[in-house]
Each structure stands twice: as structure tokens, then as C-alpha cells.
Amino acid sequence: MAGPSPVVLDPSGYDLPDSQRRVLRWTMYIGYAALIAGVFHGLANALSYAGISIIGWFPALSNYYQGLTAHGVANVLIFTFSFSNAFLPLLTARALSRPLNSGLLWASFLALVAGNVLAVYAIASNQASVLYTSYAPLQAHWSYYLGLVLVVVSTWLAMLNMWAAMRGWRKEHAGERTPLLAYISVASYLMWFLASLPIAVAFLGFQLPWSLGLVDQIDPLLTRTLFWFTGHAIVYAWLLPAYVSWYALIPRQVDGELISDSYTRIVFILFLLLSIPTGFHHQYADPGISTGMKALHGVLTFGVFFPSLATAFSVMASLEIGGRRRGGKGLLGWIRKLPWDDPSVTAQLLAMLTFVLGGATGLVNASYTMNQVIHNTTWVPGHFHMTVGTAVALTLMGVGYWLVPYLTRRALVGRRIALASSWIYAIGVLIFARGMISGGLEGMPRRTFMAEASYYSEAWRLPGILTGVGGTMMFVGVMLFFAVIGLTILIGSRGHEPIDVPISRTMTTPARSGWEPALDRLGWWAIAAVVLIVIAYGPFFLAYEIVPVSPGYRLF
């Protein structure tokens, strides 16, 4: 087994200036606050499928779909990006042992705050109950579109900050390999930066002027297509920060090692290349898009499944090394020896296990004609609550169990509660997804106030009950997480907190010659990604005639 890699395992114990730690901490708090705010309506959604309406418990809500909009925006947009805006720049700075740019850090934070204020205003006043997908011609108040654009701008500023740090490091270390942890952090947000451009065009170029009354009509298929141009890659933007933890941090937390430097870089390059040119697989049921384009995106979607398979192997190997070092014997004995008493590890292990099912159900979504059986049924939220709702959310909760103590310099309070939270959440999501997925196969529609719908099918009874039971457990899990984090921030003891980011060693260290240094040329890989995007989307947009036919509708 190779020794420690100086490029990955940085022994310097570099620590960011306190002023920057504080901004990162508050950025992360916004994310966790959004997670907690969003799950209240998650509970209402899940119970609605069990035939129970608790909308009356929320006097601030005008209707179910206002709450559903809040759930989606808070949990998949604000939570994920706020967390990543703190997490990825922190890891980049730590891996490079150099501070971030304070101006950019503040600008990113303020853009995030301003975006939240605008979006919360629009949603809370029931002027934006359009669900997070924001499909025109349902029209929200302009502050909703502008608020979400500012949230995206905050991610761009975070990206710029990381890029500048990496550029600075590379200038001072000519001929050296970029530290792996910084590399995969930057690659994650570089992919997102490219992916976010179409939604920026949709909002700034079409939906914002239309909501302000500057233009009267809009082309609904165009804005929907721009949304999904961003919208599949966005799920990888949520997922990749979790992958960063699984690849580069979790091995250290379980006494294992990251398997291969180049392998990890190649996986992230594949995500950079393949995440974006796949959006039409969300539009298989749409009119106005040729089946040829849909088939091309279907093939590319199968392609982007491949780096996730590679991840499964690498991460599992890291875990096995750790489990065996901790005394695990036999074929599977190492699993039991993993540090299941560490809530940060347990949360992420359960997230990984759930992700296996999330990935498999995702392959069904991508499977071209098979998609017709499940499109817009509860199968889809059943699937994505195991991906973004668990692989990502539970991982980000697990990371919080070391990251919050690290950033606040207070030890974690309530380790057992934290462990219980993860188990309750993970078992809950499996029950929930079993309900949603089986209901979806029976045609149970997603995004529908089932408790008061005018139609019903007997086949939805058990799926609905499982959805309600599982969703309630997920809610309890998040509330326990909230208690642990809240108590840690308020009363955690000083002096026992983790003093550094758990950076892993790498078994196969980075080569300094041959073809492998070319992996570090992220700019060139980004250009390659753009070429693929042009091939996958060019024919559609070149042939597409924009015909604005729809005035705005406010039906909420």
C-alpha cells in the first residue's frame, strides 16, 4: 500500500481566517434553515397521499400548491446550493492551503440572502405558486424569478472564488498536480456553472420580462426546454458535493483510503461532460421535440449512469479497506466493523445504500418508451426522494455532524439522537418511496392534492398509506437533525470539536508525467463539454422557431 500522498493529504492543518469561516458558516445555516422550513410542507404532501389534509394547520398557506412550491424551492434549490456555496469553497481553500477572496465570499453570501428575501416574499404572499419547475404560462411575481436568479448568481460567485483560488495555486506551483480535493470541488461547480446558463436565459430573457409586463406573451415549450436543459444537470449539481464527501472525506472517516487519484478525476470529468446534454429525457412525453433528439439524449443519459457505477465501486472499496483495517474479517464482516457509532458516517452510509435504489429507478425514467408508464406519476418523486432526497440530503446532514462543530468550534451535542435521526430518516424514505413507486406504477399522479382530488383509484390506497407513514418518519428524522444542530450551535462544549477537514489519503497517487496531468486542464474539459452540448441541443434550437403564444396565467 502506498504511503500518504503529499498532494492529497495536506498535513499542514491549514485553517481559514475567522472572518471567512463566519461567512461560510452563515451561508451553510441558510441551507439548513431552508431544509427545515421545507420539510413541514413535505409532511403535508406525504399525508395528502394517505388521504389526510393538514393544510389547515398552516394558517399562512393559501393552498396546497403554495406549500408544494415552498417545499420544492426550499429543499432542492435553497438547501442544496446554500450548503454547496459554503462546503465546496471551504474544501477548495483547505486543500490548497490558501484563503478565499473575501470580496467574492461576501458578494456570494449577499446575493444568496437577497435572492432568498425576494423568493420568500413571492412564495409567502402566494404570488408564485408555480412549483419549483416554474413552467410558463403559469406566471409568478417578478420577485420570484429575480430571487432565484440571484441564488444562481451566488453559486457563480462561489465558483469564481474557487476558480481564482485554484488559478492562484497553480501559478505558484507550476508543474505540480492540482490537489484532488480542490480539483473535484471546482469540477463540481464548473459543471453547474455551464448547466445553469440555460435557466438564466429562460428567467432573464423570457420569464422575468414577461412577468414585469415588458412582453405580453411567451413560448411555453421554449422556456420548459430551457428549464430541463439546466434541469437534469442540476440534479448532478446537487449530487456532486455528496460525491466529493464520499470520495475524498468518508474514506478518512472510516480509516480507509481513496482508491485512485486519476480514476476519481476521470469520474468527475465524465460528469462534467455528460451531465448536461441529457435534458430531453425529462421531456419524452412532450410534443414539439422529435423522437430522434429524445433518443440521442436517452443514449447520453445511459452514458452518465456509467460514472455513478464507477463511483459505487471506488467508494465501496474505500469502505472495505477501512472496515478490514478496523478488524473486519470474511466476505462481508468488514461492513459490521465500520464506525456505525459515528453519526456522520452512518448518515452517509445509509445515504449510499438508498442511492442504489435511487439510481436503479432513475434508469427506468431514462428508458425512453418505458418512461411513458411512469412519467409524472408518483414514481418520479419516489425516485428522487431516494436521490436528492436521501443520497444528497442525508449526506449533507451527515457532513453537518462534523462540519458544524468544525465551523463553530463546538462539539456535537446528542450523538445518539443524531444516529437515531439518520436511521429514522432512511427507513422512512424507503417506506415512502415504496409507496410512491408502487402508486406511480398504478398511475397515481404526482404534484396533485390527492386528499381532495375528484377521482380516486382503489389501487392507490396502500401506496398512499405507505407514502404518509414514510413521509412522517422522514419529517421526524429531519426534526431530530434540527435539534442536534441547534443544540450544538447553542451549547456545544468548546475544545472537543474536530480541528480539521477529514481529508483522505490516496492509494494510487497522482502521476506527474505522461497523460495524466492533462486531467487537470479543467478549462479544456469544459470546452469539450460545451462541444457535446452543442451537438446534443444544437439541432433542436437551430430548427426551433420561437412563437410566443401564451399570456401569463395566475391560477392560484
Partner: protein, 171 residues
């Protein structure tokens, strides 16, 4: 870069599974003639009343022996809300939206379309089993979304009278 033999085997097995799944989908499309909706042209949602075929929503027999169901989705109803077609005959569903996005999903079948204003949605389906099927709008379309449903009544035998458009029954 050294890749361990087990790692290579795992990646090869994974790639094989993906290729096999892809081959199955090609077989379904080419061999079994099951298709996704494609590009079927446009229509001005403000002028549906004077644009064929949407000027006369309902069910009719086509010259080639197939049947066509022309449906308009508008908040919060389908027009017609009851679609009567024969079993065992290919039915062409042609649909669009008069206002916002709607969904068009016939329970227990693969007939699953998005209705987008300005675009014509189309796909074909043959019902093997007579019976009553729920037709559900499965895309959020405003505060009355969960009231938007209709039904498809599949009748025995190849000849059936063209249906009227009775009002949707609401529970």
C-alpha cells in the same frame, strides 16, 4: 493509471448491463412498434375553435380504419371529458392545451402526454381490454388541478357511434 482487475470487471459488467438495457429499448421501439410522441406541429391556442381538428373535439373513425380522439385540455377539464373508443382498434390521440400546461395520462396504459399550449401532442394506442379507464391531468395547472380528470370508455367490438361530450362527473 492502474486499474485493478476487479475494478475493470465491475466496470465492464456495468457497461454490459447498460448496453443490454439499451438494446431492449431498441427492440421495443423497432420490433414492437411502441413509440414516444414526437414533433406533430403547432397550433395557436387562441384560435382552437377555428383550427381543425380542434374545432371539433371528440372521437371519429379515420379513413384508414383507425380511430382518432381529439382532446383539448383547459383549466380544469378535458373536452370531451368522456372518450368512447372500441377495443382492439388503434386509436390516435391528438391533443393540445388551450391555456397552461396540462397532462394527459390514461390510467393503466402507456398513453402519457404533456399538453403544451402552441404544440400538438399525438400518440397511438390500442386498448385490448374493454372497460372504463381514468384520464388524469398529471401536470400542475393551478389551484383546481386535482379536479381535472375524465374517463375513457373502451367498448367491445369494432363499431361504435361517435360520442358526444357529456359533462365530467365529479365525485
Amino acid at each position: 493509471m492502474k486499474i485493478h482487475v476487479w475494478e475493470r470487471a465491475f466496470l465492464a459488467a456495468g457497461a454490459t448491463v447498460l448496453v443490454a438495457c439499451g438494446a431492449a429499448l431498441i427492440y421495443v421501439t423497432v420490433g414492437m412498434d411502441i413509440h414516444l410522441p414526437g414533433d406533430h406541429g403547432r397550433v395557436d391556442p387562441a384560435r382552437l375553435a377555428e383550427t381543425p381538428p380542434f374545432d371539433a373535439p371528440g372521437v371519429r373513425q379515420l379513413d384508414d380504419g383507425r380511430w382518432e380522439a381529439v382532446v383539448i385540455g383547459r383549466t380544469w377539464t378535458f373536452e370531451p371529458a368522456e372518450i368512447r373508443v372500441p377495443a382492439g382498434v388503434e386509436v390516435v390521440f391528438t391533443a393540445t392545451s388551450a391555456d397552461v400546461l396540462h397532462g394527459f395520462n390514461i390510467e393503466g396504459t402507456r398513453m402519457n402526454l404533456m399538453l403544451i399550449p402552441g404544440q400538438i401532442s399525438q400518440n397511438t394506442y390500442t386498448f385490448d381490454e374493454p372497460g372504463e379507464y381514468l384520464l388524469i391531468c398529471h401536470e400542475y395547472c393551478g389551484i383546481g388541478h386535482h379536479f381535472m380528470a375524465g374517463r375513457v370508455i373502451v367498448e367491445e367490438g369494432p363499431t361504435v357511434a361517435t360520442s358526444e361530450s357529456p359533462e365530467m362527473e365529479v365525485r
